[in-house]
């Protein structure tokens, strides 16, 4: 992470903001889903976007996986694309919690709904801490079922320089639901985020 230009203090600051955002998100989700949500400390890493496909190739190789993308943009040049990856098996678990009956809505709608809820609750928590607010584009399925995850990621991430990889593991009381979230952030937005982190650090 350091070699891509985050100082140790900036990294600590970002990790804390993300931890708090995840905490706020799981709190909201728990109340919404009426279940207990346990959240592990998300591990974050700033990586070159070109390395993203290989990172996820193994994890999603044998399973039916879904990728959903959602763009976000806020003040002070904060913008990027959030990609949520999860296994279909997990999607069915959480859709039952969301109150969907089988056959109620199309699979695609279910996937975009879950992904949008996870992404926007997390990013709203992040934005509120940096005194920002975000707008979102509609979620879009990049691939589901038989698509090759690595290929889709290759085609998606090539025009981004950096990616903030956030590994999230949600555990609901009776079920475990794991997913990965990747925040793809263009170079100048990374610089803008660094300025914001510096401002927060100066305040303390």
């Amino acid at each position: 992470m350091n070699k891509l230009g985050f100082s140790e203090e900036q990294r600590d600051c970002l990790q804390e903001i993300i931890n708090v955002a995840m905490g706020l998100a799981s709190d909201k989700l728990a109340r919404f889903l009426n279940t207990f949500v346990h959240l592990q400390v998300p591990s974050i890493a700033l990586v070159g976007a070109m390395h993203i496909p290989e990172e996820f190739e193994n994890r999603y190789q044998d399973a039916e996986a879904a990728l959903v993308s959602q763009g976000f943009f806020g003040d002070e040049g904060v913008r990027g694309e959030a990609i949520v990856l999860y296994q279909m098996e997990n999607a069915h678990k959480i859709s039952a919690l969301l109150g969907y009956e089988p056959g109620d809505v199309s699979e695609i709608e279910m996937l975009t709904d879950i992904s949008s809820i996870l992404t926007t609750t997390f990013l709203n928590g992040l934005a509120s801490q940096i005194e920002n607010s975000l707008s979102y584009s509609a979620p879009r399925i990049l691939s589901s079922r038989h698509g090759n995850v690595a290929d889709v990621l290759k085609n998606t991430s090539f025009h981004w320089e950096h990616a903030l990889k956030v590994d999230i593991s949600y555990q609901l009381i009776d079920h475990s639901f794991n997913c990965d979230m990747i925040l793809l952030i263009p170079g100048e937005a990374v610089t803008n985020i660094k300025h914001i982190l510096d401002r927060i650090l100066e305040a303390y």
Partner: protein, 121 residues
């Protein structure tokens, strides 16, 4: 006499945020710990009056610290500071003997409210 206070959080930023949210009128001597193990080492070796305790930490999390305080009967007050304030979690923390629960991100208002409520200021 100044109250010995331990601020335990794995994030430097979070520790600073707590420190900065405390009012000037609060007469205390501060120590910090970066995870649960460090916190227990301090608690076992010194008299600490009040602990600000984060829940999600590496090595040993806040729940682990609360459990140790309870089983080892360490005499101190604990204010838990966490972003995750699900009712289930609050209940669990209170059962383990915590005094109060403050939601992250902390602010002067939130911290002062709790300190006043329990007579620290």
């Amino acid at each position: 006499m100044a109250l010995p206070v331990l601020i335990c959080d794995d994030s430097i930023l979070a520790r600073k945020q707590v420190r900065k949210s405390l009012p000037d009128t609060f007469d205390a001597e501060f120590q910090t710990a970066g995870n649960g193990m460090e916190a227990l080492a301090v608690l076992r070796s010194q008299e600490i009056g009040l602990v600000f305790l984060d829940l999600t930490m590496p090595e040993l999390d806040g729940i682990g610290v609360l459990e140790a305080i309870k089983t080892e009967a360490i005499d101190c007050f604990v204010i838990v500071i966490s972003a995750d304030i699900q009712p289930e979690m609050q209940k669990r923390v209170m059962e383990l003997g915590a005094l109060a629960f403050v939601q992250k991100p902390v602010s002067e208002d939130k911290i002062n409210g709790v300190l006043k409520q329990y007579g620290f200021i």
